[in-house]
Symmetry: C2
Subunit: 337 residues, 2 copies
DNA sequence: GTGAAAGCGCTAACAT
DNA sequence: ATGTTAGCGCTTTCAC
């Protein structure tokens, strides 16, 4: 059984008390300079490592943050994580990552079994809103700060960080309209997710504002993968009247649509315009390159983590909601030329 | 200050002792069925959550594994993580993720400051081998099991899980040769990393076996990104004699090369063959699609985690080395047709 | 089958 | 400036 050197070991080696060792190590109390010197040296010598379980037990905090994500194999969420870690690392917090695989049941299971005592706070992007948000409310009721980002939960009163999904979708749709497309379909995400709804609304309002027809048969909901994008497009092409442009809820679905269109020998841009959402690097690689709305993933990660740390440090911190703007990126897929 | 219900609370509510509560909760000792029933019910009622710091303190283990990765914003590592989590989740272990951003200094910093008492084991893909591996040896000397995967450390005696980089590279190169390319360049990773070297060796041996010229000027080392791939290609095209095929150390660099070639109006496949390594989904999306060697990322993740758990559970577990085969995936970029 | 008590490693009053 | 002690929440002898 492995056992690290403890402050007790240092104390007895030096013939002083554990409290003196503790104080010297923390460099915060009045400790004789020479004593501190001796302690520090002995600590190095014995390869002393503080026991975080013990410290956590005393202080009731652990310097551990939990992160709950629907997936990680994806540009957006992995970039977001990198942003979170940027802040956490500097603040001396470790990150425990939980990935649900978009499985709502697993999400509940994870949250219910969360070692709450091992976590000072929780950062969440929800997997699905089909079920209730009760499990998150329980965490909050237990006094653990929670910050939602990207896929937020409507019913829960806590800090949230999102991109401006509505306006991004609005701009994307207007961009298509301005480029001469008039029969614009929307390949959406699963129903029930707030941001799916926000992007749908942006799309709808853009159509209405420009007096274009809103055809329910041109709106198809499914998952977030490239395969879903391909399937959605096939479905659209079974309609009597076919659209002449596609606004996809994310780049992966847009790429799926592009591949499906190519297979039909339909020219992207010239025949059918396509625009996505995210600005996944693959958008610049695909041919023709994909127009999109860039999401500030890294920034959202940073901000969420900063907000969570504020919640943890102040006792009564009023929840904040932050919405970051996206940015229209025009490439080849949305131009007739 | 938040405070969860403890076994003490349950005990006093039920007028029994804490040890009975502890036993009932763990369902492992002789406890009267009705007592257990009462305890379980009270626990739910009070929303009892075990304190993992306390348990960790007693048992000297935490059910936490550390994962150290060079990056996460990338198909290979994020898939690998998913594989690890698959095993960890079922075994009831949480994962603390550390990402170095390919920064060797940061790696040392993280490892040196690791809360070793908070981790039952460590899974590592090293960021760079330029520096010594001393920091990892220290962890092992402290009795914390370490398993390396993908980018392993040569000098350290512990379990390692890798793909077969040498044979994958060999096969990829032979594939180019068989398809009629004779002047094959290699766009490599940074020098000093074991797997970079293994892929280089596979490439070299394939050339030698087929009596093809080995030209040092056709081998260029740099980083792992698409931008590096583009730069490397530009560098190759400054040579007096230009190659007619590229074997890239990974798909991202291969894609970079493809984009740079396209800019030069060189036809991929017909004029210059390209093959990558990884089988990133983008390889199927890029046009022309990219031939590659598929890496078993998910499997490597699973295996590494299984191995680490074995190390943790058995007291004296002999280190194992596992090498998983890759698989040649032929697409458009490596064919003259 | 259950309780009392010691102890995991550390911090934080309270003494001196 | 340093020592003594209680206690964080839990498990685990050792009694009975």
């Amino acid at each position: 059984m492995r056992r690290f050197a403890t402050i007790k070991d240092i104390a007895s080696a030096l013939n002083i008390s554990v409290s003196t060792v503790s104080r010297a190590l923390r460099d915060t109390y009045d400790v004789n300079a020479s004593t501190r010197q001796a302690v520090l040296q002995k600590a190095t010598e014995l390869n002393y490592r503080p026991n975080f379980n013990a410290i956590g037990l005393v202080h009731n905090r652990t310097h551990n943050l939990g992160i709950l994500l629907p997936e990680i194999t994806n540009y957006y969420f992995s970039t977001l994580f990198t942003g979170i870690q940027e802040v956490a690392y500097k603040a001396g917090y470790n990150l425990t990552l939980f990935v649900t695989g978009n499985d709502a049941e697993r999400e509940v299971d994870i949250v219910r079994n969360l070692s709450l005592s091992g976590l000072d706070g929780l950062l969440v992007s929800v997997s699905s809103q089909a079920d209730s948000d009760q499990h998150f409310q329980e965490v909050i009721d237990n006094g653990v700060p929670v910050v939602f980002f990207d896929r937020v939960s409507e019913n829960i009163h806590t800090s949230k960080v999102m991109q401006d999904d509505y306006n991004g979708a609005f701009e994307a749709t207007v961009h298509l309209i301005k480029n001469g497309y008039g029969k614009i379909a929307h390949i959406a995400g699963p129903e029930g997710l707030t941001f799916t709804q926000a992007r749908l609304n942006g799309y709808l309002d853009a159509l209405r504002k420009h007096k274009l027809p809103v055809k329910p048969s041109w709106i198809v909901h499914s998952g977030f993968t490239q395969q879903h994008g391909e399937q959605d497009l096939e479905q659209l092409w079974e309609r009597r009247e076919k659209p002449d442009a596609i606004f996809a809820v994310n780049d992966r679905k847009a790429i799926g649509a592009i591949l499906a269109l190519k297979r039909k020998n339909i020219r992207i841009g010239k025949d059918v315009g396509v625009i996505g959402f995210t600005n996944d690097p693959v958008a610049a690689i695909v041919s023709p390159s994909l127009s999109t709305v860039a999401e500030p993933a890294f920034e959202i990660g940073k901000l969420s983590c900063e907000l969570l740390l504020k919640h943890i440090h102040k006792k009564r911190f009023e929840p904040e909601q932050v919405t970051l703007p996206g940015k229209l990126i025009v490439r080849e897929s949305s131009s007739r030329l």
